[in-house]
């Protein structure tokens, strides 16, 4: 009888622990996309790879003052990054990389198969003059690279959400942002997000897919 008094609660507890562990693991599984994405940056890339998002129809104002409809760029592979021109770290390097991609993908750009797009998430400061200066000091090769800001500030959250970009003010007049090169296919869907310094990878990705 005394033994039973000890064993039964232990067995009951063990029995109850099984659904608890199962529930806990299921919750962890769901929260991490099947133990694959523990940070929101990985989750963003995974979500884009699994379910390519359609570009929103948003008007952009380019460095030369002209207006470009993002949706009108369909039919080409787009390499897109997000920048702000006052940035002195990543973005200046990002700019140089885009200028180099402009040169390396020159043939495809000429053929209208590839287009580079840099979008500012600081439209209040980045007017066409600032955008043009950014493009110039990055070493712009002349064609195939649009540096632009959203015409309407209200379009910015839509753009950032589509690309999964997050810009956090750093308290020093700048931003910390998850810089990356996003690739948009000719159907206008964001199909891949690569590291911000993965220039070679971006180039290979596009070259493997454009029609020869």
């Amino acid at each position: 009888m005394r033994l039973r008094g000890r064993v039964v609660p232990a067995l009951r507890t063990l029995l109850a622990s099984l659904p608890i562990v199962a529930g806990g693991l299921a919750a962890l599984h769901a929260a991490t996309d099947g133990f694959q994405a523990f940070t929101s940056e990985t989750a963003r890339r995974l979500s884009i790879a699994r379910d390519p998002r359609l570009l929103p129809q948003v008007p952009l104002e380019a460095a030369d003052g002209s207006t470009v409809q993002l949706g009108d760029l369909r039919g080409r592979w787009l390499l897109v990054d997000f920048i702000y021109t006052r940035c002195e770290t990543y973005c200046s390097v990002q700019g140089n990389e885009f200028a180099r991609l402009q040169q390396r993908l020159g043939t495809q750009i000429q053929a209208g198969q590839v287009q580079l797009v840099s979008i500012s998430f600081d439209p209040a400061y980045d007017d066409p003059a600032q955008l043009a200066a950014y493009q110039r000091r990055s070493g712009d090769r002349g064609s195939g690279w649009i540096v632009a800001r959203p015409v309407q500030t209200t379009d910015l959250p839509k753009l950032l959400a589509t690309f999964g970009v997050k810009a956090v003010p750093d308290g020093l007049d700048g931003y910390v942002h998850n810089a990356a090169i996003s690739i948009v296919n000719p159907e206008g869907r964001v199909v891949a997000v690569l590291d911000w310094d993965a220039m070679q990878q971006a180039q290979d990705y596009v070259l493997q897919r454009v029609a020869p």
């Binding site: 507890t13 109850a16 929101s40 990985t42 989750a43």
Partner: protein, 192 residues
């Protein structure tokens, strides 16, 4: 309900409401350090106080399935693991339902089960829980101090490193408390 229990439950409700106020949320969630070292522990404290208000009948029913408090610790650690996933901190800011999940699971699935289990646990189990808590604080501290990349897109790197330092201090404090209790404190060794 006894008077003491009523006071505790009232305090718990007040604390929870206070934390849920938009200015309090904005203040505590603006920094990764404040969210993890102040907001989340306070939410768990709400649940800990709430345990006093659990009617004796329910408590007896729970106890029958909770020998030595094992299942309570299990629920609390699994829930804790979930909230240690960096993504969850970002999503609590972006998705309202994740924020609601945080405000309910921290008290009900961490604080409350811990309070119901701790008195039932024997010396060895309590020691295991405490040592594991210390180890977790050190592991997370090391991760946040050593990581060159931001683990949460919503927070800055220096915030993340400050959190690492905070966790280091937390782990050390727990070590000192545990050491002090073992050396000079009153430790119950017989077990429940």
């Amino acid at each position: 309900m006894k008077n003491g229990a009523r006071t505790k439950a009232g305090l718990a409700a007040l604390l929870w409401l206070g934390l849920a106020l938009p200015p309090a949320r904005a203040l505590l969630e603006a920094s990764m350090t404040r969210q993890m070292l102040i907001q989340m522990p306070l939410l768990a404290l709400v649940g800990w106080w709430l345990a006093a208000a659990v009617p004796a009948v329910w408590r007896d029913a729970i106890n029958r399935w909770n020998a030595h408090g094992i299942n309570g610790f299990l629920i609390a650690s699994l829930t804790g693991m979930l909230w240690m996933v960096p993504r969850m901190l970002d999503e609590a800011l972006d998705l309202p339902w994740v924020e609601v999940a945080k405000f309910t699971s921290m008290p009900l699935l961490i604080g409350l089960p811990l309070a119901l289990s701790w008195p039932r646990a024997g010396f060895v189990l309590r020691a295991a829980v405490l040592v594991e808590a210390i180890a977790t604080a050190f592991r997370l501290a090391w991760l946040y101090l050593a990581s060159p990349v931001r683990l949460c897109s919503s927070y800055l790197l220096d915030d993340q490193q400050r959190l690492g330092q905070g966790l280091l201090v937390l782990g050390l404090t727990l070590c000192v408390v545990l050491g002090w209790k073992l050396m000079w404190g009153h430790v119950r060794v017989d077990g429940a």
